[in-house]
């Protein structure tokens, strides 16, 4: 199915659905997330039974601040859809989708590690990429890039995130 057809089909149950750049995106509240994913998996016209990717983006200063994006793919029907959930800064909790998609296990641990989004119901929500005792969530936009200031031939080159773009 083309992305606008997929979006039209999903819009009957999830009004906040749109299609852009050949991709269909469904925006749901976190209370309906598991139902939405199960519906997309079981609907015979869509059959989105494979979770390709799960990630988060951070928009500090916006409300909602975190967007968690689930990329679903249908192996038999060869199409994709994206599901997005918006989370506010003071309440970054979202239900874990590991009961539906066991592959989400490490994805959710990575998002917790790098962004600080908490997945309720996850079997083992611990840091996966950073050391166990690391403080902070590195991929948040308000965390600095880090590294060391560079000196070269008497000039001081500031760290990358403090350099302006020309």
């Amino acid at each position: 199915m083309r992305s606008d057809e997929i979006a039209a089909h999903a819009r009957r149950f999830f009004p906040d659905t749109f299609s852009a750049r050949d991709e269909a995106t469904v925006i749901v509240e976190r209370e309906r997330l598991l139902d939405a994913l199960a519906w997309l998996r079981d609907e015979p016209e869509l059959q989105m039974g494979f979770l390709s990717s799960l990630t988060s983006t951070d928009h500090p200063g916006s409300d909602p601040r975190f967007w968690v994006a689930y990329e679903l793919r249908s192996m038999p029907l060869r199409h994709r859809i994206r599901v997005k959930v918006g989370l506010r800064e003071d309440d970054p909790h979202v239900p874990s989708v590991t009961p539906l998609f066991p592959t989400a296990n490490w994805f959710e641990r990575e998002v917790f590690d790098l962004f600080g989004v908490v997945f309720d119901g996850h079997p083992d929500l611990t840091r996966i990429l950073m050391p166990e005792d690391w403080e902070g969530h590195p991929l948040r936009r308000d965390e600095e890039l880090g590294g060391v200031n560079t000196r070269y031939r008497g000039a001081f080159i500031p760290p990358v995130d403090t350099r302006g773009m020309a």
Binding site: M130, P131, W134, L145, G146
Partner: protein, 172 residues
Amino acid sequence: MPVERLDGVHLGTTPEEIEEEVERGVLLTSLDRAVGWARKQSMWPATFGLACCAIEMMSAGAGKYDLSRWGMELFRGSPRQADLMIVAGRVSQKMAPVLRRIYDQMPEPKWVISMGVCASAGGMFTNYAIVQGVDTIVPVDVYVPGCPPKPEMLMHGILTLHEKVRTSETFR
């Protein structure tokens, strides 16, 4: 009696003392040379390949750029049997204690080659996750730049280290 100097070594005053000192100097120089030659002839690297540079290190050990010309194709799995650690690749914060522990497990004499810019200075990854140069953790003998360095560049670094080992003064 004027004090004779040979290679900056104070020789003493009597002819017998001078002769003894010269003999000892010659003996120790020869011993240094012999030991230095032996150490560089079959330096066994410990496997510490981390990222892209590890693949170039494996290519250097394979058929086209043959490291066994210098007796080094045998990468030891256990650091206790190795005397060279080639840190090949980017060292993350989580890997740094492991690097130090492997270095400590190697018996003396040991040398470290820092292969690639990520190991030498953090490379292009000036960020929270990468140690900005392994010389903050272990003492490095030779730095090989490149991203990744071609196997010939690694061989040049190894030969530089061999020269350093061959001419090092251990006993004098």
